[in-house]
């Protein structure tokens, strides 16, 4: 083994109910390096970190710290072994002083009392190592987020850390503060500390890290030297290629002279979507591409009235609308299949029949119930139309497979006969067959004159199905491409931010 390796994780496997969260993942951290851990949401980054810090326990694999095998059982245990973590949200007490925050829980004592002088002196010394000169006796909340971030790093490092994990440390910092943080990181690196850096800002990865490990769907995709990989290559490895190009689907013909179904102008919520504008015509399929967290879902939620925009206007058929709740959007003939099926989609304990009838019933109000007969015919119709695999409509939706659950939600919205359909990752986590069926349905509905907004992380399905593709990056619309003759590298280039605005 190389002598300068601090941490070596080998063949880590973690099984969650129903999914393999980590599948034979290897990870190596050397002394004096900043190692970026990359991957989309759900790729397994945080699971790996939680495994290392004793939050989750691995089912297989081994962790070597300084050559000795360890099995962290709790975060406290991990910290005692020299594994320190700084989380995205600052885990300090804003009402305590800076010095107290650094030493809370391990105050130096003298004559059975806390030695305040000693605490303050040592805290100032510690912060000076980071070239921060502040009054440590002031409450933490007095200082900016960046300083607070540094204080939490100082605290993490002072507990005799061998390696430091920074989980999205820059997401609440501005450019100058990021520079300051990077300086501290470089100093710590020079002192021989190993740093694991998790972020979704690719620019920062290239600025600060030495090596990169990429995870996707719980698997390790590879370990790269930062000087030997291009941003474009990295993005394609994070997203992964789709294998189901076997399906020969044709995008719907865009009718000439179709009127605008919906448009948005500069909509946004600070911190989520900064600025997004587009318009979509009847019978058009508009693809939304971009990394997870780039503001695609948030845009969809604004359009459907799940959240209210802070600025910008939304128009449906030329009329400006302000939705207070999803019901307002439904009444305007919108429909929305949310990204998180479990959280925002299915009502697991209700039957398929009830789940399908839910939105139609909500639209009618509870005083005008659908008769049992109407509900039955609605359920039967869509079970057949979408070939939902179930013996009858009485089955609880929670008992269905992911693909069939997705079809039930699709059925719920098709039953409301919408004019505009927003689909957020409708094909994620479902098997290849169900995926192709959902794409086919989507294109059929489009052919029937429905305007469809299709959000997906899988570029090939976006390219295959869309008439136009809108690409988002960091909450801002980064570009728009026609669906025809568009290639994956075209989109990736915009996602990676290498090309300027096109078409």
């Amino acid at each position: 083994m190389e002598p300068d390796v601090i941490l070596s994780m080998r063949g880590i496997e973690i099984q969650f109910p129903g999914v393999k969260a980590l599948d034979k993942v290897d990870f190596t951290l050397r002394r004096g390096e900043v190692h970026a851990l990359l991957g989309e949401n759900g790729a397994g980054k945080s699971t790996l970190i939680k495994c290392l810090t004793g939050v989750h326990h691995m089912d297989a694999g081994e962790i070597l710290l300084d050559g000795a095998e360890i099995r962290p059982t709790t975060p406290q245990h991990a910290m005692e072994m020299g594994i320190s973590t700084v989380f995205q949200e600052i885990n300090l007490c804003p009402n305590l002083t800076v010095a107290e925050n650094i030493f809370v829980g391990r105050q130096p004592m003298r004559y059975g009392q806390i030695n305040w002088k000693e605490i303050n002196r040592r805290a100032s010394e510690l912060l000076e190592r980071f070239s921060i000169q502040i009054d440590v006796t002031r409450p933490l909340s007095y200082y900016s987020t960046a300083i607070q971030q540094m204080v939490s790093i100082a605290r993490a490092v002072d507990v005799r850390a061998k390696l430091l994990i920074l989980d999205e440390p820059t997401s609440s910092l501005d450019d100058n503060e990021v520079k300051r943080l990077f300086k501290v990181m470089r100093d710590l690196r020079a002192q021989g500390l190993g740093i694991i850096f998790i972020t979704h800002f690719l620019d920062q990865v290239f600025k600060i890290s030495d090596r990169i490990t990429v995870l996707r769907n719980g698997r390790m995709i590879g370990e790269f030297d930062v000087r030997q990989i291009s941003k474009l290559d990295l993005v394609s490895r994070m997203i992964g290629k789709d294998m189901n190009e076997i399906f020969n689907l044709k995008r719907a013909e865009q009718k000439r002279g179709a009127s605008v179904a919906m448009s948005a102008e500069h909509i946004g919520i600070p911190g989520k979507v900064e600025d997004n504008s587009f318009e979509i015509k009847e019978g058009e399929l508009l693809g939304f591409a971009g990394l997870l967290g780039s503001g695609r879902t948030e845009t969809a939620e604004i359009l459907f009235g799940v959240t209210k925009p802070a600025h910008g206007t939304v128009k449906v058929k030329g009329e400006t609308v302000r939705f207070n709740a999803p019901l307002d959007a439904i009444n305007r003939k919108l429909a929305f299949c949310p990204e998180d099926r479990k959280k925002d989609g299915v009502i697991a304990d209700l039957t398929i029949r009830e789940n399908i009838a839910l939105a139609v019933q909500a639209k009618r109000g509870y005083l005008k119930p659908l008769s049992r007969k109407e509900m039955d015919s609605l359920a039967d119709k869509y079970i057949k139309l979408l070939s939902i695999a179930t013996p009858d409509a009485d089955k609880r939706v929670g008992e269905l497979s992911g693909g069939n659950q997705q079809k039930v939600i699709l059925a719920r919205w098709m039953a409301t006969e919408p004019d505009i359909l927003i689909l957020d990752e409708p094909t994620r986590g479902i098997d290849v067959g169900a995926k192709a069926e959902i794409q086919r349905l989507m294109l059929e509905m489009c052919g029937g004159g429905m305007a469809v907004i299709f959000i997906s992380s899988e570029l090939d399905e976006i390219i295959r199905c869309s008439n136009r593709i809108l690409i988002m990056r960091d909450g801002v619309k980064a570009g728009e491409l026609p669906g025809e003759n568009c290639t994956q590298p075209d989109i990736m280039r915009i996602i990676a931010g290498e090309a300027v605005e096109s078409a």
């Binding site: 459907f304 019901l327 009502i347 697991a348 839910l358 019933q361």
Partner: protein, 354 residues
């Protein structure tokens, strides 16, 4: 693959078994326990079983609303206090003249219609107050309803100036002491309440919406359900039904009692719902189960009396039996029983809602 869940997995079946067991023990101790007699003077059927159902009426009525509240994932602690408020208001209206005449008589000062409707409407408004705090201001149900649980009895005291009025007004006494179709009035009223709430949840989509909101509030909102309104209705209805129960209680004792009327009713009502098989975390509910639960609670009380237990220890004894019933209904016991019945072949369907 139809639902082939073992009958022993249902909570309701265990409640019914428990009820039968308690009744059998009562029968052993008192051979005439099941005897029901018609008494021509009062035109009423008499008997221990009738008495149990009669005395469970208040809890049954309140628990109808409580079932819906619990199905939303909430709880309502104020029902007992609202029983006191309803009684106090009714007696205040009956005996508006109390400073002048102090002997109770067969008369009412305010129109009888007001005596009936003012308490019910005030309780409805108080239920809506709970609902607004919980649905609009997103307060935790226990905290929100604690407000009226404490304040309610104070309001009742204020309404009656801290006095305990008594009345002999026959129409009012009829509510709790009269009979219709040879059955005590409380039984008739609770039957109407059970039927009314059942029809309301079945004939409208309210039942489906309330389950949907209780199971997954987020998804329900995204599907277009106005979950705030759904929740508000549940609390308003519970308030109203507590008012009805309050009138029955006051009529039974021909009086009002701000301190003791409806005491611990919130606990009995919640218990009735839970014994009936509705989960405290919300979702699927069973009104029929709640009726059984309410009758069980009353049967236990009767049982304890028949045992001749000193009244001070009744609560402890009651709690003991309830604990046994609840343990019988618990997940591990039901699983164990059903695995014995099915030789472990049948596993629970996956993907249970978390």
């Amino acid at each position: 693959m139809k639902r082939r869940e073992s009958i022993f997995k249902s909570k309701l079946i265990w409640a019914i078994i428990a009820e039968i067991l308690i009744l059998l023990v009562c029968l052993l101790m008192r051979p005439d326990f099941f005897k029901i007699e018609y008494q021509p003077q009062t035109h009423m059927w008499y008997g221990s079983l009738i008495d149990i159902i009669n005395r469970s009426a208040e809890i049954t009525i309140i628990a109808m609303g409580m079932t819906l509240v619990i199905a939303t994932g909430g709880t309502d602690l104020s029902v007992g206090a609202l029983v006191a408020v309803a009684g106090a208001l009714a007696l205040k209206l009956l005996r508006w003249d109390v400073t002048v005449y102090n002997t109770p008589g067969d008369y009412t000062v305010q129109p009888f219609i007001l005596v009936l409707f003012v308490p019910m409407l005030v309780c409805l408004a108080m239920g809506m107050f709970n609902g607004v705090l919980i649905a609009k201001f997103k307060m935790q149900p226990i905290i929100a309803t604690l407000v009226l649980m404490v304040a309610g009895r104070g309001i009742a005291q204020i309404a009656t100036n801290g006095k305990q009025f008594t009345t002999l007004y026959a129409p009012f006494r009829f509510i709790g002491q009269g009979s219709l179709l040879a059955l005590p009035m409380p039984i008739i009223i609770s039957a109407v309440a059970v039927l009314g709430v059942s029809l309301f949840t079945r004939l409208t989509s309210y039942g489906m919406f309330i389950e949907s909101v209780g199971i997954n509030r987020n998804a329900s909102r995204v599907s277009g359900i106005k979950s705030d309104t759904i929740i508000l209705i549940a609390y308003a209805l519970t308030g109203f039904l507590s008012g009805v129960a309050g009138l029955i209680y006051a009529s039974r004792i021909s009086s009002c009692d701000s301190n003791n009327a409806g005491l611990n009713y919130e606990l009995d009502a919640i218990l009735a719902v839970v014994i009936g098989g509705t989960n405290m975390s919300g979702g699927k509910f069973s009104l029929a189960g709640t009726v059984v639960g309410s009758i069980i609670i009353r049967t236990i009380t009767t049982f304890v009396y028949y045992f001749g237990i000193v009244s001070e220890s009744i609560m402890a004894f009651k709690a003991l039996i309830i604990a046994v019933v609840i343990v019988l209904q618990s997940e591990p016991v039901r699983k164990w029983m059903s695995s014995r019945k099915n030789t472990g072949a049948d596993r629970i369907g996956g993907g249970v809602h978390a």
